[in-house]
Symmetry: C2
Subunit: 202 residues, 2 copies
């Protein structure tokens, strides 16, 4: 949530009138709109209204609705960007570190809400799925795979990711018991050896 | 897909005019509507129209929209009902049998489409999530857990389920490569030992 704002060129005088922080307000509004309305029902106009700016300013900073969505995904996945660092500490205990980091991100309501919104959009809307696929593949899995010393590192990294995402789905979205109420460390204890095997070989 | 039609009481003369197979046509229409429009946008009226029957007949056979959805989930999950049988053959090779059965169901477009529809609805709509949770918990996981000889059998069964569902999500919904194009047997080979450990202890 500490992303450096990156602007598309210099804002015009009209944009400047919207005051500093307009970009951040738009991004925040976009995350809320996508989370609450879903991908289909969210519009650039609605995001602009929620942010208290002109729709042209949304286009100026981000471009199309897809591009606003991509920016919202990027901010939402910042905690995931730490994954390569988490894994970069060497192969020993990599499974446990990954499981604990992942559950920590989902346990925190502040980081969970936008992730939920992205997953919901991606599951139901092809364009959102494409954005998530491109982003997660390019940014997270490829970096992780680079550091792995196993055959088919991307395949292995995706299987590890599939397990984590499946746990998030059952625990936080569908809230299936007893998984939903289990202590995170109980989950880490069972899942860590799996992730360890996937990421460091068998 | 060979469900015995179960009727809620005797159809009236008016219902009978809709001809035999009306219940099946309604159910088929419901699955298509939920799959294509999502839970929110699907209505009993729309399902009736697609099935070529009066909305009253939908109410007669199934009740409310939630109950039509539950019936559609039930039919869609019939391949999952075989899971207890798959697992009932004893602990040896249980992980491999489960992984192969699950991927087989998702590989087949006929059984995959309704599962996708259910997952999409459940991820985005709380009522649909509740139906799925009740159904999967009651029908599948509890039966599986009964047969397991491990501590916390339901917790273990859910962790196994979370991995399978996560793979389905990445492979069939988000279509992330290389997982999306991997040979099912490649996936079975890596995942089976995980499921085996979860379901038969460590």
């Amino acid at each position: 949530m500490t992303a450096e704002p990156r602007r598309r060129g210099r804002p015009s005088r009209k944009d400047a009138e919207s005051g500093p922080g307009a970009r951040e307000r738009i991004l925040e509004a976009a995350r809320t709109e996508f989370a609450e309305r879903g991908y289909d029902k969210t519009s650039v106009r609605g995001i602009a209204k929620a942010a208290g700016v002109d729709p042209a300013l949304v286009h100026h900073y981000f471009g199309t609705k897809d591009e606003v969505f991509a920016a919202a995904v990027e901010v939402s996945f910042e905690p995931a960007m730490i994954v390569p660092a988490v894994l970069g500490q060497g192969p020993e205990g990599i499974g446990e570190r990954l499981a604990r980091h992942f559950l920590g991100v989902w346990e925190n309501p502040v980081t969970r809400a936008p992730l939920l919104a992205v997953v919901r959009s991606a599951v139901t809307h092809e364009t959102a799925a494409t954005v998530l696929r491109g982003f997660v593949l390019r940014r997270v899995l490829e970096r992780v795979a680079t550091d792995l010393d196993v055959p088919d590192p991307k395949f292995r990294a995706e299987l590890a990711a599939s397990h984590m995402i499946g746990i998030a789905l059952l625990r936080y979205v569908l809230r299936m018991e007893p998984l939903a109420s289990a202590d995170p460390e109980e989950i880490v204890a069972v899942v860590a050896p799996t992730l360890q095997r996937y990421l460091t070989g068998n």
